[in-house]
């Protein structure tokens, strides 16, 4: 729908989350950038979560609240000294409240190149039924 832009990418500082809950392990938490769109059948969420592998990704949906949580490995091996550090590394966390009811059994999650594509199919609304009235 939107044509590919050929503009230059600008640096966007990572958004750190002021986390309300205390983390069990110390570390930074960031909110991933997301695109959310929907069509008639489903809601689709795309989140940039570089460094998150499938086994470290936690997707939770309950009470119409969707929680994304992705852990990252600290990449610096021992014995490496910092020369120039421009960005911090930390896990990703974001919550959304959904307005639609989702068919949980059909949720699909794909994680490629650090981008999560989450497809949330909406529950099929019951087809309208005409009700005949018995005279009597």
């Amino acid at each position: 729908m939107k044509d590919n832009e050929t503009k230059e990418l600008k640096v966007k500082e990572k958004q750190e989350l002021a986390s309300p809950a205390e983390l069990t392990r110390p570390g930074l938490v960031f909110t991933p950038s997301v695109d959310i769109f929907e069509n008639e059948r489903e809601i689709v969420l795309l989140a940039d979560m570089p460094g998150v592998q499938a086994q470290a990704l936690n997707i939770d949906l309950r009470d119409n609240t969707l929680t994304l949580e992705g852990g990252v490995e600290s990449f610096e091996a021992d014995g490496e000294e910092a020369v120039l550090i421009e960005y911090e590394v930390g896990k990703y966390y974001r919550q959304f409240s959904l307005s639609e009811v989702i068919d949980q059994n059909k949720i699909d999650a794909q994680l490629n190149n650090g981008v999560l594509r989450l497809t949330l199919p909406k529950v099929e609304k019951a087809a309208p039924r005409t009700i005949t009235v018995q005279a009597g």
Binding site: I36, D48, N113
Partner: protein, 151 residues
Amino acid sequence: MYRRIYNVPSVRFRSAFEQLDRMRRQFDRFLGDDAGGDRGMLGAGVFPQINLTEDADRFYLRAELPGVTSDDIAMQATAKNLSISGARKIESESDGVKYHRREREAGNFSRMITMPTEIDPDRIEARLKDGILTIRVPKAEAVKPRQISIN
């Protein structure tokens, strides 16, 4: 402690006054009109942001490039510089979708990074996995530190 490269100030403090000065400036920024956009990044302000580390033999350069595949990146190196350029693409969705949020951006990027010492461009290794680009850059033999024995 960071080395000086391209006049980026090192975080070491030369005197106690300089440390107080820096604290004062940070408090000014904290209480002032800093809207959070321009936090005085220590970096060059060019996409992508990089983390450069080193050990005795190599430099390690890392960048976060979600959604970028190896086909979309080109890298070139000389004995002193490394350049990374490419494009982040976002696939277009079918017609008729309605967006609730749109925070991710697509576009081109191009950055030249000057290494602190001479490097060996023929032996550079690069890996792109889960949206993280990791480049191992061996230092040139001539600049590696040598142990000097004292008689």
